[in-house]
Symmetry: C2
């Protein structure tokens, strides 16, 4: 056992340091996260700081772990100390009048949402992994999800951070204020930096008033150009309450509404696109009427081919369940998952080019497409009957090649991690990447914080 691990065991409470093999054996990690030297689970910011001081002195690389639900190998920890925040999972304070919540980084997203609701408030971040993803992970990847359209990404939901820097310095910036222009807004650097600039240990979250009305519908649309028009018309017509505009290409819709999937089609198969829409408002009776009237107008002018309006909380949940039933793509395994963003007007031609490119090479391929169209964010899940690294590379070239031409981003919300590192230059130019390196070197001169993630330092 390495000398460093011995010293870490001496430093922390019993059971806080688990040797790598043991950690893998007891399944501490939900996904293949490589072979860490050890998994260290500090119980406090002070312990995180002492771990980092030790690793900094030793030049030992660490990989911060949250819920390990990431999709881009951002937590891969071969030969590293896996620094798990899972034991730091307390909600420390809820300030109801100020509408803020202070939590430890290991706090589970769903726990935060439920605690906010308990106070008549609302934490808007919502994504499939809500039950296991941590707030620290949401911050380090600037998580997006289902309601970015209305409430923004995680960046807009964080007021303050406590971060432990590479050398163990605790940088406490637990701002509770909505507006604070007193010098640089340091938290912005850590949000979305995937654990490469510091380890987030605590956060102050911004809460919103709890909506008192939820209106949902599933729309069928036959022509792509109608989608951006419908989006703009609903944004206007609902006057600021549109909270989701989730588009499912027909193959995906068919997949999640046919056996063996549990879901059934609220509107018939056979249309080109299906849109899940949600509005969150403040006046149940009136919002229902407005919702139906605005949709009726869209139906009349022919942009919407068919629509099913959810009539109950249960029906709303069933609509979300369709959109969330991404596991069904496993039917086409082996698969690859992509998370891209591009201009809404480009999406139709983009998806066609990707599909044609894949078909030409793998005639039997499948391509599932869905996403947060309102945010310009698409998830593409191709299956080409081959999960090997050569196939992955060839698929990536097709998916990202078509994206690069359109000025898109290889990561809308999942981050870069290791998986997309070779393609960062498709979405960022040399000057941008050089400046990222400048920042990394200034904050982590020994390159011990999640090294190799996002970009190679040298």
């Amino acid at each position: 056992m390495s000398d460093l691990v011995t010293r870490l065991k001496a430093l922390l409470a019993d059971g806080a340091v688990i040797d790598g093999e043991e950690a893998v054996r007891i399944g501490l990690a939900r996904r293949p996260l490589g072979a860490p030297l050890a998994v260290v689970r500090p119980g406090s910011t002070a312990e995180v700081a002492s771990v980092l001081r030790l690793c900094h002195e030793a030049g030992q690389a660490i990989a911060p772990w949250g819920g390990c639900t990431g999709l881009v190998e951002g937590a891969r920890a071969d030969g590293m100390i896996a620094l798990s925040l899972q034991r730091m999972n307390r909600i420390e304070q809820i300030d109801a009048p100020g509408a803020t919540m202070t939590v430890e980084a290991g706090c589970i997203l769903q726990t935060v949402c439920e605690a906010a609701e308990g106070q008549g408030l609302f934490f808007p971040l919502d994504l499939g992994a809500r039950g296991s993803a941590t707030i620290g992970g949401n911050i380090s990847t600037n998580a997006g999800g289902n309601r970015v359209l209305r409430y923004g990404m995680m960046r807009e939901l964080v007021l303050g951070l406590e971060v432990v820097l590479a050398d163990g310095t605790v940088m406490s910036s637990l701002n509770h204020l909505i507006k604070n222009n007193a010098g640089y807004d340091l938290k912005q650097m850590f949000i979305g930096s995937e654990g490469t600039l510091g380890v987030v240990t605590r956060a102050v979250l911004r809460l919103r008033p709890k909506p008192s009305s939820q209106n949902m519908a599933l729309l069928a649309v036959d022509e792509y150009p109608h989608l951006p028009k419908i989006l703009r018309n609903l944004e206007r017509g609902f006057g600021g309450t549109l909270s989701a505009f989730e588009v499912m290409w027909q193959d995906f819709y068919k997949l999640v509404t046919s056996p063996p999937a549990k879901g059934r089609p609220p509107v018939p198969h056979g249309h080109a696109y299906y849109v899940l829409i949600e509005a969150l408002g403040g006046d149940t009776a009136e919002d229902d009427a407005r919702f139906e009237r605005v949709l009726a107008t869209e139906l009349e002018n022919g942009e919407i081919a068919d629509a099913a309006i959810a009539k109950s909380k249960g029906e709303c949940e069933r609509l979300w369940a369709l959109r969330d039933d991404v596991l069904q793509v496993g039917q086409n395994a082996p698969i690859f998952t992509f998370d891209v963003s591009l201009g809404i007007v480009e999406m139709e031609s983009y998806v066609c080019e990707v599909r044609d490119g894949l078909k030409a090479r793998w005639p039997a391929m499948s391509l599932m497409v869905f996403g947060h169209l309102g945010d310009g964010n698409l998830h593409l899940i191709p299956g080409v009957g081959d999960g090997g690294s050569k196939a992955r590379h060839d698929v990536e070239e097709i998916v990202y090649g078509a994206l690069r031409k359109r000025g898109g981003s290889v990561s809308a919300e999942h981050g870069i991690g290791l998986e997309k590192r070779d393609y960062l230059s498709y979405s960022r130019n040399a000057d941008e990447i050089a400046l990222m390196r400048t920042l990394k070197k200034a904050f982590d001169p020994r390159n011990i914080l999640n090294p190799g993630k996002i970009f190679a330092v040298n």
Copy 2:
């Protein structure tokens, strides 16, 4: 004339470089901005880059200038090259389907707002200096203003930036995407950094759908604790359309509704607080009804003592004119202006403590208070009959001392500049300021970019 100025004149087109004395004589600057070595007005990013390369080699300090409407001496340029962006004022592109606008940094805010409206779109940033403040200045101070409650500060309205770094490198990061997690979000570091990390030359702005309804009212409220309740109830009741919640303490309201001010009181004097509210929605007829119904409920439950609802566009403009008529505070000249933020629940006791502190020292003092209560942001404008630096220092100790105890910020939206530099430590701890210095040194090792602003580097 300095050798550097001679070289700058040779480098740029005729008339682009104006000697300091001449610049002062012809009144290039709207406020006392010190005595610059010269004012340089490049016409392109390439010229900005060549100016910076030259200044970097020479170790010559520069102060970026936008509209020079700042309130904290952030553009003060004694002995520096004043780098004015005012000639780079073009709107380069409006992408209506994508709802983005690409502009040069010297573009005037109001010009941007009008251009957006011309396309049926909306740029929400709104502040008193709209007619002369530039987008570059709005970015460098992370401007706030009247509609932060609904649309966020400038940070939330910027998608991409082009920045010239200290050494003249042009870092073009003109992202058009709403979601882009491909590596660090570099623009975040430059927004709100007051020209100390780079010179913003172009920006991609996010536009919103143009609201089709505007509802406004002026509310009279007698007890402070009612204000946060009314705010939350309106946020809920208006379902996401509340765009302004501007509170005027009674002295300020009286000042802007009595001669010599042009404004007249829409509701009588004598109440403790007056609130200007605005909702921007998508359905004129229905929004009017909702607006009046929600207000009626508040009147019934007694939280609102009196209310005047604007019945026309003209009446809306007259209500905003009251709130914007800040020049009336000149009646109490000499005055000092403060821009603080703190928790809404703390504001009443805070203002009382400041008033008592000032009264104890200057019995004849005046204190005008108003601000964006929905954002936790108050503007305090005391007049103590003495504009001297000793009086300023004593007033600052009273205003900021009471703020420090309450965990407030010495700058909600104006920035730190030179004026508030000595008080940065009231709102940021030593670790935060140390990290700001780390960032500054990494980006501007020779300390030539607006040196001395926000904090002293050494």
